[in-house]
Amino acid sequence: MTAEITKPSTAPLEWEYATSREATDILDLEDKYGLFIDGEFVKPKSKSYFPSINPATEETIAEVAEAGEADVDAAVSAARRAHTEVWGPMPGAERAKHIFRIARMIQERGRELAVLETLDGGKPIKEARDVDIPLVAGHFFYYAGWADKLEYAFPGIRPESLGVAGQVIPWNFPMLMLAWKVAPALAAGNTVVLKPAETTPLTALLLASIATEAGLPPGVLNVVTGAGKTGAAVVSHEDVDKVAFTGSTAVGKLIQSQLAGTDKKLTLELGGKAAHVIFEDAPLDQAIEGVINGIFFNQGHVCCAGSRLLVQENIHDRFVDKLKRRLATLRVGDPLDKNTDVGAINSRAQLDKINELVESGQSEGAEMFQPDCVLPDRGFFFKPTLFTNVAQSHRIAQEEIFGPVLSILSFRTPEEAVEKANNTPYGLSAGVWTSKGSRILWMADQMKAGVVWANTYNKFDPASPFGGYKESGFGREGGRHGLLPYLKWSES
């Protein structure tokens, strides 16, 4: 008997994945959505609607009302009345139970929310399902427990709610940004008028109906959909006591100037251009994963994205080679596919902006690398991209791209790394990878950023404060610190 020996194939390994598409039949969507004011969906006085499209297919998902000034006024009045008559006087323990109940219902309907988040915004379903929605539920659960413990949060003060909070949130984490703003506001006893981003309004509307189902009293949470004009009407409404905004630094400055001369309280969570510093003694394989997560998480639509990679010079070439190999394994495509790593760019406008900045990177002399991957025919997509030979003066090293584009610079000494890391008007986040404990703590001290991830990146938690230095804004969201912007107090 002779054994048959099969020679191993010399063909390259195939890494094709079979499609594994998340079903969308869990959703029960309307064709047309009104505004959520005083506990019910109402037609807009503006009589105006706009489409919310799926950025992966460019198809309209639903028509959404565009709130005008009269609509915003109705929402603020409802919030004021709810604050004066219901939510303000309600004992903290009762408020807590309302918020706990919302947290539980978010968990219960998590899959539905995750699918809609992916459909409306373009993020990979595995991120919406495993990161966004669990964190959303977590935020409501975390802040629910504070509602009857506010007097223990900050020593020496008698805390009180501010009144009506006007909140304007971005499209990159529609539900999560809602949770970051709404949960602490409600826990502190405020009522809310929320303006979701115009490209991603649907999950906020679904949450509003969940809150109603959970028994949240009418007027406590109001959702007014629309674009910039609607947002401006919310923040400049004279009966709004507190404004919280997350978005670009340019719009944040506009809001800050609109509020000059008023006594409204303001928190701003704005842009970033985070330095991600890799020392020669870093655990390189882990660092590669950290860098990938740092810039390609949510297509790089992340204000704290690690978009400026600083690699110590003696490992630069080796690290970049590894990075390129890893880039080639990223699966770009249908956000609803459970295998997808990089989904759709949120909008045509954002895709144009990314293209413009990437072209500037090439024309200013940086060297571009993109893996050989096929993008879908329809929808807004952009290949994971990295630039080497980047100078600090290049626009791609200075400006927030808000896309899957990494700029790579090098450094020799820790002092030089700090100098370069801090050489930006922003100061939202920073990352550092090294095996040396004392260097981690020194770097964490030196880097001017509100969040420093050491030997990890893009980690978020309801208990962990988040927010920026310098032009990345002020105020913190998350944790005990996140309550303070929603309170006023007297001291004994």
């Binding site: 003060i157 964490a444 420093v452 990890t456 208990a463 107090w489």
Partner: protein
């Protein structure tokens, strides 16, 4: 023949030195009867820029000191102020305070400094904490100084107002450019001599006298000022500060009296949160 007394020239305080205004301008400080007590320097835009530059240069040194050390220096300011109480009482009385009110004000200013001195090595324990995140991470939040802070001192009480607004800004390690009381400037200038002889490093406090209406726009618009305490601003001046703040997203604190509170320290800090994985 009686002896002619020697009068002091009241100048600016920038980078640990006492320069005249580069503009060569001064204005009269008047007493309660409208008589000229002295002429004081009218700081210019260039003086303000010099003050901001020296304040920026002093941030890392001051912020880098231990809270214990900053606390001792603040306590030393209190000692020196107490030592020179008589001069301050004279100046406040000349500007219209009763003798009893002036003595009380100086005493309160000394006590306020002592109170804040004690916070320097403690406030981080009140504002900072470990965060119990849902994962294998060490996660801690702690306050850091905001950087260069403009302080618009109240017109009155000229000394207590200045000390009450300045001390909490210094506690966490910020450096400052102070616009002194315009109508009662002499106590502020004398206070800069107290600072200068109390181991406060050069550049940590820079004090300008002159027209607030002239100087506030330059302070508010300056791209290297991180925050402004508008404690002594009029409503119009406050609005101007808030408008200028937009250029580089300055933090602005509105007037809220001359009391004492650890939350006044917190207003000039940035919370930094650091994550690190736990594992074998």
């Amino acid at each position: 023949m009686s002896r002619l007394d020697v009068k002091k020239t009241y100048k600016l305080y920038i980078g640990g030195k006492f320069p005249r205004s580069e503009s060569g301008r001064s204005y009269p400080a008047l007493n309660k009867d409208g008589e000229v007590l002295a002429r004081v320097a009218s700081a210019s835009r260039k003086d303000l820029r010099d003050a901001v530059r020296t304040a920026r240069g002093a941030v890392s040194g001051w912020a880098g000191r231990s809270g214990y050390n900053r606390g001792q220096i603040l306590y030393r300011i209190a000692e020196t102020l107490e030592d020179r109480a008589g001069t301050f009482v004279e100046q406040l009385t000349a500007s219209g305070s009763t003798s009893a009110a002036a003595k009380k004000e100086v005493g309160q200013a000394v006590d306020r400094l002592v109170w804040y001195a004690g916070w320097a090595d403690k406030f981080a324990q009140i504002y900072g904490n470990l965060n119990p995140v849902s994962g294998p991470f060490f996660n801690i939040s702690a306050p850091e100084p905001t950087g260069v802070v403009g302080v618009i001192a109240p017109e009155e009480p000229a000394l207590l107002g200045l000390v009450s607004r300045l001390a909490p800004v210094l506690v966490p390690g910020n450096t400052t450019v102070v616009l002194a009381s315009e109508s009662v400037p002499m106590p502020a200038i004398t206070f800069s001599e107290v600072l200068d002889s109390s181991d406060v490093p050069a550049g940590v406090v820079n004090l300008l006298t002159g027209s607030k209406d002239d100087l506030i726009p330059f302070l508010a618009d300056h791209m290297d000022v991180n925050a402004v305490d508008a404690g002594g601003a009029t409503p119009n001046q406050l609005t101007r500060v808030q408008e200028g703040a937009v250029h580089n997203v300055k933090r602005v604190v509105a007037p809220d009296g001359t009391g004492q509170s650890p939350y006044r320290i917190a207003a000039f800090t940035e919370t930094k949160t650091v994550w690190h994985p736990k594992g074998l």
